[in-house]
């Protein structure tokens, strides 16, 4: 379970004078559940890329439980992410040609040998997400099933935080609700911090705290007072 601290963060895109993201201070306690909303272009994805270390940060600090990831080399940042952050992305980024099970364990297998415990955990997670035929090729699953496989993959290494970027945006309502349900249930069960970028009101409503970004700044924060 990880707590997030952001201070003096500024992200610029080349050619643009105004920062795409400017956050002076932001704190999310460990185990917190955060929804980030906002119009497109408001900086939601940039915020997620920054806190997960997918984008290089040149100004400001981003700390998870006190570990400032902006000071890490890109390789160490990748390693930190692998260990601590479970990612669920809008486009799933599953790998065709591999089975559901192989996709869940791929990040581990590419880094090291899969342990028996991890193998069992992968199977348990797949069953918890409602995927019964774990040997089925990923491209033959429905989109809703694919995103559930991605959720199982994000949880495999017991991350301290799950960051989901528009996890339901490319799904129909029914499948989207299922995935939203799953994210909430599993992160609560595993006790992980949860950060979800979404414009799905149904999903956002169910998270403890919501912030709305506008032009790269925090415009509304439902839990500002609660957090302090």
């Amino acid at each position: 379970m990880l707590a997030l601290d952001v201070s003096d963060l500024q992200m610029h895109f080349p050619g643009l004078a105004a920062p795409v993201l400017a956050i002076e201070r932001f704190h999310l306690p460990a185990g917190g559940q955060l929804a980030i909303t906002g119009a497109s272009g408001s900086g939601k994805s940039t915020f997620v890329n920054a806190i997960t270390g997918l984008e290089n940060v040149t100004q400001g600090k981003i700390s998870w439980n006190g570990m400032d990831i902006t000071r890490l080399s890109s390789g160490r940042r990748d390693a930190f992410r692998a260990r601590n952050i479970g990612l669920v992305m809008q486009d799933f980024h599953l790998f065709p040609g591999l089975s559901a099970f192989d996709n869940v364990v791929l990040p581990v297998r590419l880094a090291r040998r899969l342990t028996v415990e991890e193998r069992e955990r992968a199977l348990a997670l797949l069953s918890a997400t409602g995927i019964n035929r774990v040997g089925q090729k990923i491209e033959t699953l429905s989109r809703g099933e694919m995103q559930r496989v991605a959720v199982a993959r994000a949880l495999l290494q017991r991350p301290g935080v799950i960051v989901a970027d528009e996890p339901t945006a490319s799904l129909d309502r029914h499948a989207g609700n299922e995935v939203a349900e799953l994210l909430l249930r599993l992160s609560a069960e595993q006790g992980t911090t949860l950060v979800v970028v979404t414009h799905d009101a149904f999903l956002a409503e169910r998270l403890g705290r919501r912030i709305c970004l506008e032009s790269g700044r925090v415009d509304e924060d439902s839990g500002e007072s609660a957090a302090q």
């Binding site: 980024h93 990040p107 880094a111």
Partner: protein, 423 residues
Amino acid sequence: MMKFIFADLRRFWSGALAVVVLIALSVALSVTVTLQERAVRLGSARAAEKFDLLVGAAGSETQLALSAVFLQPAPLPLMEGAVLGRLANDPRVELAAPVGFGDSAYGFPIVGTTTNLISALSPSLAQGAHFARLGEAVVGSDVALSPGAQIKPMHGTAEAGGETHTAIAYKVTGRMAPTGTAWDRAILVPIRAVWQLHGMHGEEHHDHESGEAQSHGAEPRDHSHEHEHGHLDADAPLDEHFDAQSPGVPAILVKPKTVADAYRLRQEYRTGATLGVFPAEVLTRLYATLGDARSLLLAIALGTQAIVIAAIVLVTIMHVGSRWRQIGALRALGTPVRSIIALVWGELFLLFVAGIASGVALGYAAASAISARLTASTAIRLPVDFAPDDLWLAIGFLAVAAFVSIVPALAALRSSPAAALRA
């Protein structure tokens, strides 16, 4: 890791196949050139190795060696018969065998010689016995005639419009074991039969020609009108003693007793009307020429490889380009950089290895096929073998492939994962 690579290759199998074929063909080209050049060099050297020293009439050394070693039909001037007599009785000579060309049958050259030479070529016959009468013949292992068969000699070759000799029909008495030389395609008959068939008698020859070469050789038109078709007694016993009165011959194969003798004999017979050559030496000169041709071919092969490497670089850039998002996703999921490099590099390297391996196999097959065809037409065995040097060539290819395939892998890691995911 391998699972991931194979899943990826299965998805893009047609492109992968194209890369493999591209590399295989270019590697096959240079392997074929290398192997074939070596096969011709070794094969002809082995074919010549039974012929230590050749003595012929003054003229072209190359032509003398090619005619006697490879039985290539060409007009050769004659030496006076006394040379044969002298060599046959020289104490430094272990074997001196006359070689008389000119006739052919069924497309195989008929060579007049002695039983000594047959024994030197094939210490024991594969079938039958040596010829013992003027009208008998021993065939090379590739001549499709069995003992007992009749051979009607034709003057010159069928292609040159030669006429058939009617005075004699040789009877096959034996077959030599395979020698791997052009002589496997020869029909060997007693030299005296050839002389008599062409109306050459030592005394007469000596009387009115006084050593001037009577045109006798593979060129039938030269003398087809003037030569008297002598009467020939096919049952006459063999006479293999030669003296100053023997008729002229175009070439004599000499086996000197020692190396020193060989050099001395060559020196002695390099003066005036005769020419002594070491066939191996003549061949070495030919290889030098052949070597130039090989360098050219290899340069062309290298040129094609350069083009192929350029194509490979293009393919890998596209390969990585189309996987930009995939690589970004792998990094987002926390895959270590070394694993990503291993994946991209491993996949390309796998394709290159497959291409190089099948190229080597293809080149070997092509060289073997070419050698087999050449052997069928010349009887000279051309051994297609790999040499230790080839290993370095293969290692060189692999090194280039390894280097070329690691560049795109490194390039893929320059941008941030987020940028790669946006691509």
